[in-house]
Every structure is written in structure tokens, then in C-alpha cells.
Amino acid sequence: MSAQFIDQTSPVWTNQSRARDVLAEWVTNKDNPYFARTGANRVWAHFFGRGIVDPPDGFDEGNPPSHPELLDELAKAFAAHDYDFKFLIRAIAASNTYQQSSMQSHPSQSQREWIGRMPVLGLSPRQLSDSLIQATGANVTTSLRDRMLSGTQVDNQIESLFDNQVGGNVDPQSTILQALALMNCQFIVQQTEPGASKTLAAVLESPFLDTDGRIETLFLATLSRRPTGEELSRLRDYIESKSGERGRSADATQSVTEFFQAVGEELLDPSTSRQRGQEQALADIFWALLNSSEFLFNH
């Protein structure tokens, strides 16, 4: 039986030909209708979580592309640039389609295959590990970072748990084990502990930050944005409720004795309950931010 390509043609063998070279030539030949299309489609799927032909392995007549002209254009340009992946990635990343927001402004955008808005994508296990390390400021030297990424420090959990089976990253339905790990695993517990977390320690110990500044810093560290006014006021209230403050304005119902008692406690040991409560409340906020969809997804 002689070797045949999938388009039923046979290679021309010479004495010098090695099978892999012959195959490589056929694969990347400009006349090959498959490689450019599947390659372009795969890169597209990587950026949008869904191929123009989806699943990307399912190229057949029963599974037509959602945007055939686009796929043709991408394939043509990819081939014309000698299958340069950087070129293709730049082109896709510079497109208006890729630069859309994930926020929905019109109901028609709910049809995912039309890509009327950027889909919310899962992070790869590695991206997630990196994001966690960056946000928490976990003490990272190059080698430690590598160890973390190989799973010993973030405790396998992050890397292997988030390695979801189902193809494209769209619809990253989390599993129960993933949720349990993000809520309770040792890494998260440590990093949301005021004494052990770098980010938290920095936020708590910076003398130039007031409560609002602390909340803002936690948002910037995790979500790369400032809290909205509403979020800020809600979280400020939360911290105040936990820090045992008597309120900023004078509380009319407060008895004079209670007032002096409170002042006295603070004078005796200003770092007692009030501060601990505040630290805990900020740790709670940090925990919630690290567990939020906005942090855990690419959007």
C-alpha cells in the first residue's frame, strides 16, 4: 500500500525525500485548501472561545462555518504571509470584533455565534495561577513562580482543577471542586490573612490610605478598576459595621458613658477590636474579589 494524502493525491518520491519533509511541503503548499483554513480557524477560536467552524476539529460538510467569507479572508491572508502566526494574531487582536466590550447593550448580542459582543471566556489554568499570584503579591522569585506554575505552591489545585475538558473556553462552567478550592484552599486562605498576604498587608499598613483608598487599592489589585460609587459606599458601610465604629457623625442615641468607654478603650489600645475588625473586613472584601467572576474570567 502506498502513502496517500487525504486529498487522495500521492506524493512524488525522490531518493532523497524524507517522509516528514514531503508531508510538511504538502501541508504548507499554497494550493492546500485545508491548512490555512483550519489554522486560521484555530487561532480565531483561541481568541473568541469559539471557532468560525466549531468545534475546530469538526471540519466537514455537515458543520458549515458561521462566517464563510471571513474564514476565507483569514485563510488567504494567513497563507499569503507564509503562515505567520504573529501576523494572524495581530490582525485578529486589532479587529473591531476583538475589541468589543463584553457588556451587552442590545438583546441581539445574546446570539453567541454572531459575536455581537466579546464573549466572557474562562482563563487558562496558567493565566489563573498568574492572576492569583499577581493580585495577592505572593512572594515570587523566578524559581518560585515556576514552582507555583508547575503546581506545587498553588497546590496543584489551581492548575489541574481548572483544566476543564470541554473545548473552547466559552461557557467555563466551574466545577464544584474549583469553587471549593477558590473558597477554601490553603493558598487563598493564606493570601486573605492580614498577617500573611502581601497585598493585604500593604493595603492595611499604608498610612496614606483611608478606608476608601484601601477598598480602591484592593479593587485595582484584583479587577484593575476602581469600585463604582455604589460599591464603594456599600463596602465602606460593611467595614464600618465590622470595625465597631460609632459612626462618623455624633450618634445622638449614644450615652455619654458609652462614648467615654469607647474613647477610653481606644486610648488604651488603639489597635484592638476596632482595627482587627477593620482588617478582617478588608480581608473579606479581598476574598470576595478573588472569588468573583470579574476576576476569574476573561471579559
Binding site: 468545534p55 475546530p56 476539529d57 469538526g58 455537515g62 458543520n63 463584553s102 457588556m103 451587552q104 445574546s110 453567541r112 464573549p119 466572557v120 471566556l121 474562562g122 489545585q157 483544566d163 476543564n164 475538558q165 470541554v166 473545548g167 466559552v170 461557557d171 467555563p172 462552567q173 466551574s174 466545577t175 464544584i176 471542586l177 474549583q178 469553587a179 471549593l180 478550592a181 473558597m183 477554601n184 484552599c185 486562605v189 490573612e193 463604582t228 460599591e231 456599600r234 463596602l235 460593611y238 465590622k242 478582617q280 473579606d284 472584601i285 476574598w287 470576595a288 474579589l289 472569588n291 468573583s292 467572576s293 470579574e294 476569574l296 474570567f297 471579559h299
Partner: protein, 456 residues
């Protein structure tokens, strides 16, 4: 033959029995106080309910077990390797001397001696037997654990429907995955094959990781955190309707429900008396089987327990390329008491009738011993076993010739066998799911021919 289930679920009965308060909001703000003492009543009620859904326990033999040294002995032939056969509780059926306790349960077991499949590689064979399909093309077939638990289970139950005990996923991670059914049907993995023993205590490795709150966070503080999280989620998801955020929310809801449910006590093996543990055998597999019984009691529809190793076994699991006899004997010393105790224990609790036990690996092993006194991969003619609920026990289906090299009678494919499991479990094998390529795929391929005489 298809058995119809009453629509009444474990959850309904749980509610009727104890009226527990469940999580109120999506991410839950308060779990009600859990009343103790509801469980025994519920367990008894579960066992007695004629409409009770069925459970499946898969005893998975990683590496591919030798049929000749277990269920298809050939003492008369050189290929038998000198292993003797023994009588079982059923006259005329003889199995290997390696399984004396299992032999006593033969009335409730059916042996298929004519398994004939086409994958002789660990990875592909594992995928084949655990999904029913060869790994081919873009379709991501779900593991039978995901498929069957979806058919049998209740998505709102406290515990996930597919629990995998100590799996070795190195051969094929996809064989343990939910495939196109999506992560909602992922297995809850308990322990893992590389678990380090803590002070020699095996039971303690069979836990759900991260199931408890850290010491410095009590439920009230966890609630505080969850309410902050809920408000963050609300804002984010309101502007991005769609399943990504919903999936996140569902997973957290289920995780929190499990953390706070009394069903989570199913994982507390220390509640069991030492005498019972010893009966199962103080091995990871033995404890896994005991755990499986506790989970069946709590309505979990699919539990798989992997037997990956035994002390004094030189090979990985059942992959006995060298010194086969010795390796198989060591593995059987773990398998035999655990399996027999599991059946007895389930029977005593009235649960065996509704629990189908499946014993198999990815393939069998060569009848001829190789130069290292080992047996190699052999998918052409091997054995698998069904026991317990829905199984017409005390019988052997199919046979191999005197040398064991070929199926002599009634070849059974992976699809035929898994279709038979569906029959025993009362699952409609024609029930369809939409695959990742948009095409509906039935639980078992339409061309499967289940073994009718095994299904009650």
C-alpha cells in the same frame, strides 16, 4: 426492558423527612440549623422506597486485569499459569482461587467471559470502556459516570451525582470527564491515586479537598463574604447575561450546599466501626468501597472506586507485564474482601437490589505468559462482571476456548456491555444528549445489543 422511575427524588424525601432549611439565595446567606438524627430514618426510607432510583458502583481495575487469573481460569491448560479454580456458590461456575470471598456471592453475579474490544492501549482502552466510544474526531464523549448520573440523578441533590474515588487519570483524563455534558457533570474526586498517607491513616486521604472552611472563618463570616461576593456578581452578570457567570454561580451554590449539608458526613469514614473497616480491608480500595456504600445510602447515583495498586505488587495496578501471578494475587487480596464486604453490607441494608456493581478494566491480558512470567495487553477475549441490582445472577455469559485465545461464544462489545449496564440500572439507553458538535447522541449507540439474559 426499561424500568420507569417515580419522579420523586431523594431530595423530596430528604425534605419530607427533615424539612431542612436550604440555602436561601443563589449564593446563600443562611443555612438552617441541621437537626441531627434525620439520617437513619431517611436511609431506611430510601432503602424501602419502591420508586427509589438506582445507583451504580464501578469497580475500576486500572491497567487491565487478567481474566485467566480472576474470572476465566484455565487450570487444565498451560496458559492457566498454574492458578487453580475453585467452586463458587453456584454449582458449575468456577472462578480463580484468588477470589474466594467473591466466589461465595456468585448467586448475585453475572460473569461475561466473552468481552471483545478493539483497543489494546491503556489510554485508548480506558477511554473506550469508560465512554463506550473510541477516541476519534471532535466529539468529546462523556464518561459513563457523567452520563449515567445525569440519567439517574437529581441535579439539585446535596452531593454531586458522579463521585470518583482515588482515580488514576494518567491514562486518559477525558475518560473521567463530563465531555459534552459540561463541567456540571464533572466527577467529584475524592482522594487521588498519589495520595500520601497521613500517619498511615488511609481513610483520611479519602476526603473531598477544601470541603471545610478554614479555621479562622466561621459560618457567619463566610456568609458575610458570600454576600459581598453576591453583590459583586450581581453587578457583573447583569451586564453580561449568559452562561459563563451563571455556571460560576451554580458551582458556588452547589459547593456551598455540599459544605453545609449533612450529606457531607457521608465522607466521614470514621463513623464506621473498626470491625467493618477490617472486613473491607484497610486499603485505599477497601475504604473506597466502604465510602461507596455510604454514598449510595445518601442517594449518590454513580460512584467509581479505582484499584490502582497493592502492596507487594511490582507493577502499576493490573498492568502485570512481569510476574503476573504474584501481582494478581496481591491485587486480589485487596479486591476480594472489599468487593465481598461491599455486597454483604449493601444487602444487609436492603440496598443491593437497587445498586448495580460493575467490575472491569480497560482490557484483559494475554492468555500466554510472556518471557517475564507476565501477561500483556489483550482486548480480544476478556472478562467483565456485573453484580447486584438488576442483575440476573448466578450465570456466565459467553466463553473462550480451552486456551483462552479467542471468544468461542457470544462476543460482547463495549457498547453491548455498557448497554447491559443501562438495562440493569433501568436507564433508557436511547435517551439523547446534544453533543459538542450539535448532533444528538444517545446514551448507548443504537446498534448495541444488550445481554438480555443478564437484565432482570
Amino acid at each position: 426492558m426499561t424500568r420507569r422511575h417515580s419522579p420523586q427524588s431523594f431530595r423530596d424525601r430528604a425534605a419530607r423527612t427533615s424539612r431542612r432549611t436550604l440555602l436561601k439565595a443563589a449564593l446563600g446567606c443562611a443555612a438552617g440549623a441541621v437537626s441531627s438524627g434525620w439520617f437513619p430514618a431517611l436511609a431506611a426510607e430510601t432503602a424501602g422506597d419502591p420508586g427509589r432510583k438506582r445507583s451504580c458502583i464501578l469497580l475500576w481495575m486500572s491497567g487491565g486485569p487478567s481474566q485467566i487469573d480472576t474470572f476465566d481460569p484455565k487450570p487444565e491448560h498451560a496458559n492457566g499459569g498454574g492458578v487453580k479454580s475453585i467452586e463458587t456458590a453456584v454449582p458449575g461456575i468456577r472462578i480463580s482461587e484468588n477470589l474466594p470471598l467473591v466466589a461465595k456471592r456468585m448467586k448475585q453475579m453475572a460473569i461475561v467471559r466473552s468481552m471483545s474490544t478493539k483497543e489494546g492501549d491503556h489510554s485508548r482502552g480506558t477511554y473506550l470502556m469508560k465512554t463506550g466510544y473510541r477516541p476519534l474526531g471532535p466529539i468529546q464523549y462523556p464518561s459513563i459516570g457523567a452520563l449515567f448520573s445525569k440519567e439517574l440523578g437529581d441535579i439539585e441533590a446535596d452531593l454531586p451525582g458522579y463521585i470518583s474515588v482515588a482515580p488514576f487519570r494518567g491514562f486518559s483524563a477525558a475518560a473521567y470527564g463530563p465531555g459534552f455534558l459540561g463541567p456540571r457533570y464533572s466527577p467529584l474526586i475524592v482522594g487521588n491515586a498519589n495520595a500520601v498517607r497521613v500517619n498511615g491513616n488511609i481513610a483520611s486521604t479519602l476526603r473531598v479537598e477544601n470541603l471545610s472552611l478554614p479555621g479562622n472563618v466561621d459560618t457567619a463570616r463566610h456568609d458575610d463574604r458570600l454576600s459581598i461576593l453576591t453583590s459583586l456578581e450581581d453587578e457583573f452578570s447583569a451586564r453580561r447575561p449568559g452562561s459563563a457567570v451563571d455556571g460560576h454561580r451554580t458551582a458556588y451554590k452547589n459547593a456551598i450546599r455540599m459544605m453545609r449539608s449533612e450529606a457531607a458526613a457521608g465522607f466521614e469514614l470514621d463513623e464506621e466501626p473498626d470491625s467493618l473497616k477490617e472486613k473491607y480491608g484497610l486499603s485505599e480500595f477497601g475504604m473506597g468501597c466502604l465510602l461507596a456504600r455510604r454514598l449510595v445510602e445518601r442517594g449518590v447515583p454513580f460512584i467509581e472506586v479505582s484499584l490502582n495498586s497493592a502492596a507487594a505488587n511490582g507493577s502499576f495496578g493490573w498492568d502485570t507485564h512481569q510476574n503476573n501471578q504474584q501481582g494478581v494475587a496481591a491485587l486480589c487480596k485487596v479486591l476480594d474482601p472489599a468487593w465481598a464486604a461491599l455486597m454483604e453490607d449493601l444487602e444487609e441494608r436492603g440496598l443491593l437490589e437497587t445498586t448495580t456493581i460493575v467490575w472491569m478494566g480497560e482490557f484483559g491480558r494475554t492468555p500466554r505468559l510472556n518471557a517475564n512470567a507476565g501477561r500483556d495487553h489483550f482486548p480480544a477475549a476478556w472478562s467483565a462482571v456485573l453484580a447486584g441490582g438488576g442483575v440476573n445472577g448466578g450465570r456466565v455469559v459467553g466463553s473462550t476456548g480451552p486456551d483462552g485465545m479467542k471468544v468461542a461464544d457470544r462476543p460482547v462489545t463495549e457498547q453491548d456491555f455498557l448497554g447491559t449496564v443501562c438495562g440493569c440500572l433501568g436507564i433508557d439507553r436511547t435517551s439523547e444528549n446534544i453533543s459538542n458538535v450539535g448532533r444528538p447522541i444517545s446514551v448507548i449507540a443504537p446498534e448495541a445489543v444488550p445481554i438480555k439474559e443478564i437484565i432482570t
